[in-house]
Amino acid sequence: AQTVTQSQPEMSVQEAETVTLSCTYDTSENNYYLFWYKQPPSRQMILVIRQEAYKQQNATENRFSVNFQKAAKSFSLKISDSQLGDTAMYFCAFTDAGNNRKLIWGLGTSLAVNP
């Protein structure tokens, strides 16, 4: 069965510093997509970044970047220059390339950015 594991239930970081959130997944598929979503206290779920498994280059969106290690089935999220507005729950998710029906979700990591 396909699974997504986020091993850090809670993390904290000082403002302006860098933090890395971990995510591992398990699949026998070769072609798939990985996502990081953010859920701030407002509870609105927002896409942070997306990675295609067939791309070797790590995805980057401004201060957010991923370290995608396909062989290790690892997909960590790095947040640089952390801001107070980054305080949120972060969810890692996975989907097969050919399955548009549903995503497999991790349980989330609660990140607190401290002033």
Partner: protein, 115 residues
């Protein structure tokens, strides 16, 4: 551009009363639609998804049902609410077809409290 609307935002209902949460999507055709529940601020549980009008797939046996009377309308219902139905409900959509590349976009959520 595509937008997703979900209402009501907050609902307090007595045990045994009916429920209707509504979700509509604008700016796209034949979307894949989803209902998720999130309890205690952690983890997303997929309840239902739909790939077309009248086509509903249930992920978890429960006290809830879903309907898709129109292409861009998705309704979550219950005839008699239970205390355990309390939670945060999220509607989401993805593009049509079978591509895992399609991003899941969420509504603002509905907070249901059953007393």
């Amino acid at each position: 551009s595509q937008t997703i609307h979900q209402w009501p935002a907050t609902l307090v209902q007595p045990v045994g009363s009916p429920l209707s949460l509504e979700c509509t999507v604008e700016g796209t055709s034949n979307p894949n639609l989803y209902w998720y529940r999130q309890a205690a601020g952690r983890g997303l549980q997929l309840l239902f998804y739909s790939v077309g009008i009248g086509q509903i797939s249930s992920e978890v046996p429960q006290n809830l049902s879903a309907s898709r009377p129109q292409d861009r309308q998705f309704i979550l219902s219950s005839k008699k609410l239970l205390l355990s139905d309390s939670g945060f409900y999220l509607c989401a959509w993805r593009g049509p077809g079978n591509s895992g590349a399609n991003v899941l976009t969420f509504g603002a959520g509905s907070r249901l409290t059953v007393l």
